[in-house]
Amino acid sequence: MGTAPSLADYLNEDSQAYFDDVKMYLEELGIDYVVDPNLVRGLDYYNHTAFEIMSDAEGFGAITTLCGGGRYNGLVEDLGGPESPGIGFAMSIERLLLALEMEKVEIGQSQNLEVYVIAMDESAKKQAFSLLKDFRSNGISADMDYTGRKLKAQMKSADRKGANYVIVIGETEMESGKAGLKEMATGEQQELLFSEMAETINNKKSLEE
């Protein structure tokens, strides 16, 4: 059918000058680009600048376009507003995640639980429950068991959740009003009043920072 007429050959002086300026500003920002005269946008209202960002990561399927955008001078008027030229882009977050996978970049590591509180019996549970509230209102993440498991199962659970500290409350602790705050990484244990625990943890946190 012969080569179809290319848009690049039909740009008038203003359009060419506009395009040259866009390229000049991109160079100013140190952003590399490739000009592709075949790049068009699917939507009717685009004019002047059109762009796409593609992933060159290996293992991608047929779809490598991550982001598409461009200028629309005229859309605002088409929708009943005064002349207001615009430019924008849209990118799919799903494809961004796919690109991260292809480039083997890990993001979004979940934060460790700070304190896991273990209660040995019903009266200790009440104390544990109020301790949770104390921690949480002091900005410390805290959790406990809600399925009536034994000590050993609860220790395992604390481990799975990656708890930084574990507190075990039983009869002795209820009588003394003190319990051991065990730091899981070092195994060190510090005897503290229930009322001192949140502050102690926050002090340690600020020392680490």
Binding site: L11, F19, S55, G61, C67, N73, L75, P85, G88
Partner: protein, 216 residues
């Protein structure tokens, strides 16, 4: 049998949702630095908005929209993209009257297209987008492109390629369209019926534009 999520949709579970949260944090931070403000528009709009704003002849409008009648017999459509809604809101809320132009907006949210699902293409998917409305300075084109590139870089992507082109202004596009129609018209019968309709519409549109130009 238990009920499953509809075809082309999926759940984001703990383990994955942390990734989404991190991306959203990066978006918020970057848009703050570039001074784009968040806009949240409805998930459904009048169908006519997309017919006019996206274009009657596009695949999106012709084949991919989730369109339904509500109980008041209005034709509504789950948004297939974000720009039309943002511009509708810009006009409806008279943002063109704000003293500081351009108005720089961003959005993040679910979009809906009836497509064949495959990796990276879902029927409900999430888009992040920005719109800078009210300026035709080429510097803002570069700013918008730079924001997109910066987001990818900030999450750790390196293998990126930016492709740009100019579609020209109305005049340039019109003369190109005419050249295209003239080029393909002799063999219009060889095209699929969709393409034939589009070719004819282009012809019609360029005729109207010409007449308008003359009468003005």
């Amino acid at each position: 049998m238990s009920i499953q999520a509809p075809r082309g949709t999926y759940d984001i579970l703990p383990g994955q949702s942390e990734k989404w949260q991190e991306i959203e944090q990066k978006i918020n931070e970057l848009c703050r630095l570039y001074q784009y403000k968040e806009i949240r528009t409805p998930v459904f709009e009048h169908t006519e908005l997309f017919q006019r704003g996206v274009g009657d002849t596009t695949d999106i409008v012709q084949k991919e929209m989730y369109t339904f009648q509500d109980r008041g017999n209005r034709s509504l459509t789950l948004r297939p993209e974000g720009t039309a809604s943002v511009v509708r809101s810009f006009v409806e809320n008279k943002l063109f009257g704000l003293p500081d132009q351009p108005v720089k907006l961003f959005y993040t949210g679910p979009m809906f297209r009836y497509e064949r699902p495959q990796a990276g293409r879902m029927r409900q998917f999430v888009q992040f987008g920005v719109e800078a409305i009210g300026s035709k300075d080429p510097a803002i084109d570069a700013e918008v492109i730079s924001l997109a590139m910066e987001l990818y870089r900030s999450v750790g992507l390196k293998k990126l390629r930016l492709v740009i082109n100019s579609l020209g202004d109305t005049e340039s596009r019109l003369s190109h369209k005419e050249a295209l129609v003239a080029h393909f018209a002799p063999r219009i019968d060889e095209f699929c019926s969709d393409c034939q309709t589009r070719l004819k519409k282009i012809r019609f549109a360029s005729l109207i534009a010409k007449l308008t130009a003359i009468t003005h």
